[in-house]
């Protein structure tokens, strides 16, 4: 009798094992399904309009065939560069403070809470705030203030990057084993030096991932740019002037009544996604070179 019981139990275990595995596979499929569906549909609607003109020409007036989104691609590059220059250093610096120097202090807890709230601020509100702070008034101490500009768009998106970068940097630093910190202290290395050269370096793959997540998130933002970058029908890379960006141009073109512009909007969406994937892959590839054998 005991044999049959144990036979039955082991069969039940196998069945449970299979069922859980199937559930996990199903969940995985559900995770990637939306991405595949969106990407597939974009390819279907947009791929035929992606050609050399799309990358080299500015949009034509409605009714004229052809034209491209060169100004928006360039503009997105400029605005995202400004945003990263603001968001990445401030975010990483804040994360280092939270995890290493300010751990447990009231100031650190306040900053952490503020960052979490900032993360939840709707992006349209961020755009309005920047409009009221530096687009509408002119300040002698803030460059390019007093009018719509690529710079103002970059500031709005840069501030949106800060909380994500800051909190992931903190989390990643806290995951560095205590033994690694002790090893550095035991060698007589000053704390600040050990934090910058050892702890941050050890956590850098995770910190870079956090920066890429923040970058990918803001790359598709439209709302904060309405009140800041404004849009520009012509080619411009100037920080001082209004500038076109891909998400903003997609928004305008998709709402327009013109068939040509709809096609460009589909193509723009496809190009935006591909560019984000390429930017993220490039950073991963560059930062993974120089990693030594035996590291995971």
């Amino acid at each position: 009798m005991s044999t049959t019981t144990s036979d039955f139990r082991s069969r039940m275990r196998a069945v449970t094992d299979d069922a859980v595995t199937m559930l996990a596979i199903l969940a995985t499929l559900l995770v990637i399904a939306p991405l595949v569906a969106i990407f597939g549909y974009l390819l279907y609607r947009g791929a035929s309009s992606v050609n050399l003109d799309f990358f080299t020409k500015i949009p034509k007036p409605p009714g004229e065939a052809g034209g491209g989104m060169a100004n928006a691609i360039l503009g997105s590059g400029v605005v995202l560069a400004v945003a990263s220059l603001i968001g990445v250093p401030i975010g990483i610096g804040g994360g280092i403070f939270l995890a290493e120097f300010g751990r447990g202090t009231k100031l650190a807890n306040t900053i952490r809470f503020t960052a979490d709230v900032l993360n939840g601020v709707p992006s349209i509100v961020m755009g309005m705030a920047i409009y009221l702070l530096i687009v509408s008034p002119r300040h002698s101490f803030i460059p390019f203030s007093g009018h719509f500009s690529a710079f103002a768009g970059g500031v709005a998106l840069g501030i949106m990057m800060i909380p994500t970068v800051c909190r992931t940097t903190e989390e990643m630093l806290l995951m560095v084993p205590h033994a690694v910190r002790e090893a550095a202290l035991g060698l007589g290395i000053p704390n600040w030096r050990s934090v910058l050269s050892i702890t941050v370096k050890t956590a850098s793959p995770g910190i870079i991932t956090g920066c890429m997540l923040a970058f990918a998130r803001i790359a598709g933002e439209t709302a904060p740019l309405i009140f800041t970058a404004l849009g520009n029908a012509y080619m411009s890379a100037s920080l001082d002037k209004p500038i076109e960006t891909l998400p903003f141009q997609i928004y305008i073109f998709a709402l327009s009544p013109y068939e040509d512009w709809h096609r460009l909007a589909w193509a723009g969406s496809l190009v935006l996604i591909v560019l984000i994937v390429m930017a993220v892959s490039l950073v991963r590839w560059v930062t993974s070179r120089g990693v030594l054998k035996g590291n995971t």
């Binding site: 084993p177 033994a179 690694v180 002790e182 090893a183 550095a184 202290l185 035991g186 060698l187 007589g188 290395i189 000053p190 030096r193 050990s194 050269s197 050892i198 370096k201 050890t202 850098s204 990693v291 030594l292 054998k293 035996g294 590291n295």
Partner: protein, 252 residues
């Protein structure tokens, strides 16, 4: 030449927990001194007081005096200066995971601002030879990560890293307890060779190990130093009943 360590009335706390009580002893220069005792008896806390690592824990506190040569380490110098003179090897091998073998060994010098390439090359080679690791890693110095080595090799890498900053004292907190017997015997051979140049203090749970490598042995129990004498005397004819009970395996 290593220098001896004179410990007077040393007390240490973690929060309200009085982990070390009135420790007095003289650790001889250029010898190996073993510290034995059951878990939680304070021997790790004791060695961490010798390079001021104890106070890196915010709730920790120390009183009393520790002199290394002419230097009172709690009065005359900053913790980072002490830690360059008093090297430490930890229980679990802890190489810097993102650094190459070479950079691991050179880290103590490089991160303290030392950058002469030729001298660094020499020091790295000498330290790895002193820790008996050179022949196993000399072809991959800059190619492989410190984390890619086996556990025993990692621990010898950590010893090389500690030796590279040219300390006078080497503290070892159960350096072989996470290693297999072959690696353990390599570490013990190493301690044997190094003690002519350095003052070595080794915490160990393994009493045979203490007997093999150390001239002097101290027995800790409940935060107190029960007995400190020549290793031979401790293991053959201890003066204190508690020491005898411990080494004969009646407790601990």
């Amino acid at each position: 030449m290593g220098v001896g360590i004179a410990v007077t009335n040393l007390n240490a706390w973690y929060g309200t927990n009085h982990t070390l009580q009135d420790i007095n002893l003289n650790i001889p220069a250029n010898h190996a001194t073993a510290l034995i005792g059951p878990s939680g008896c304070g021997k790790s806390t004791f060695v961490r007081c010798l390079n001021r690592m104890h106070e890196t824990n915010p709730i920790a506190r120390v009183t009393g005096s520790v002199r290394i040569g002419d230097l009172d380490i709690y009065e005359d110098a900053k913790p980072v200066q002490i830690r360059r003179r008093v090297g430490m090897v930890f229980q679990r091998p802890n190489p810097f995971p993102t650094m190459s073998i070479y950079d691991n060994v050179a880290s103590g010098l490089k991160l303290n601002g030392y950058s002469n390439r030729r001298v660094l090359d020499e020091i790295v080679e000498r330290s790895l030879k002193n820790s008996a690791l050179w022949d196993e890693v000399k072809d991959d110095l800059k190619k492989k990560s410190g984390a890619s080595l086996s556990g025993g090799q990692q621990q010898r890498l950590c010893i090389a890293r500690a030796l590279a900053v040219d300390p006078e004292v080497l503290l070892m907190d159960e350096p072989a307890s996470a290693l297999d017997p072959v690696s353990t015997s390599k570490i013990e051979d190493l301690i044997f060779q190094l003690k002519s140049q350095y003052t070595i203090v080794i915490v160990t749970h393994n009493m045979q190990q203490a007997a093999r490598v150390a001239e002097k042995t101290g027995f800790f129990l409940n935060g107190r130093l029960v007995e400190f004498d020549s290793t031979h005397k401790i293991f053959t004819n201890p003066s204190d009943k508690r020491t005898e009970d411990y080494i004969t395996g009646r407790f601990g």
